[in-house]
Symmetry: C2
Subunit: 203 residues, 2 copies
């Protein structure tokens, strides 16, 4: 356990691996996150991670849980700041928080969005997503009750805004903005505007 020597037993390899993977993913993208590269970064043999994660998918799922927690926190924060304002305003704040986070963390966004890279349903991810969805639904229901929106069902409105927000975020992370005449640097601002406009057209 001395700090100078590297002990045979790492101590907290599991968390060290997750941390290394989170960093590697931010720096070099998902493709760079091989089990071997993560092991090397932590200073451990190629097979060692498999004592803690049964597969690369399981490791990436752990990374996705960290990413999702950060997204949830960003949304919580935005909603706390919008507290006291109208339900529809809070709903737009939630949408903007989602866009901000996705544009700022493209690779993490990509990881939590995929179903091929991670085990979404067999992890805490589905539940975390559920909580966000429930918040959206509650705000929309409130907006409907308050007469802020009309001529839509809560479910339709929710799916329409979520699909638009997801589409805008993905167009950005997939590098498609330029193909549609939007400068990538203006992407976020544009996404904010289009989402706001769509929500306001529900009125």
């Amino acid at each position: 356990m001395s700090s100078a020597t590297t002990p045979y037993h790492h101590g907290d390899l599991k968390n060290a691996l997750i941390e290394a993977a989170v960093t590697l993913i931010e720096e070099e993208g998902v493709d760079a996150v091989s089990v071997r590269a993560v092991a090397k970064r932590v200073g451990v043999s190629p097979g060692a991670p498999f004592r803690h994660f049964e597969s690369r998918t399981a490791l990436l799922t752990a990374v996705a849980e960290v990413a999702m927690a950060r997204l949830a926190q960003a949304i919580d924060q935005a909603l706390a700041q919008a507290g006291g304002q109208s339900a529809l305003t809070q709903y737009m704040a939630l949408g903007r928080a989602f866009l901000d986070w996705a544009f700022a963390n493209p690779t993490h966004f990509r990881v939590i969005s995929s179903r091929a890279l991670i085990d979404f349903d067999g992890s805490g991810l589905a539940a975390a997503n559920h909580r966000i969805r429930d918040r959206m639904r509650a705000l929309l229901q409130q907006a409907l009750d308050d007469g802020e929106i009309r001529n839509v069902t809560v479910d339709d409105a929710m799916l329409a805004t979520r699909a638009l927000a997801y589409g805008l975020a993905r167009m950005y992370v997939d590098g498609q903005m330029q193909s549609w005449d939007v400068e990538p640097a203006q992407g976020l601002q544009m996404a904010h505007r289009l989402l706001d406009e769509q929500v306001m057209r529900l009125a």
Copy 2:
């Protein structure tokens, strides 16, 4: 050149490789498309494809061009059928053709949408996308001139509908429909409805 023996020179290896990759991608997804697997399927050595494609990316780009041509054809057909109807109706038909194609060809859709797997700008893909975009713009301009839509710029309307359509299609191919309370089997119908509604709210 006899049909019974396999000659040393394939003859049309390039096209055979593209064809095999297109099929493999439909049957087993993008990840299954390794250069080696495609070579094996065509009955050729692992290094042979590199005589015709400088990298896996180049091979996938060729596949993407086939896929994009099919999408363009589907759109052409839909517009031909909607000929004579109002500009906004034609615009919706184009959107539905995009959704139909993406839902029916999830893996091809994924390939043409990515910028990591293929070389979008250094191929015919950018130009093909350009043509679709120009069609959309022209129809929206016409709808605006005819008073079918109001209170929007052509560019905003185009990006909003494209982002919504892309978001809906991606939610489907990324397996996210269920996480948002939509049965995958109902996804396409739902996507149609939400896109139609969004376009009609531009009126």
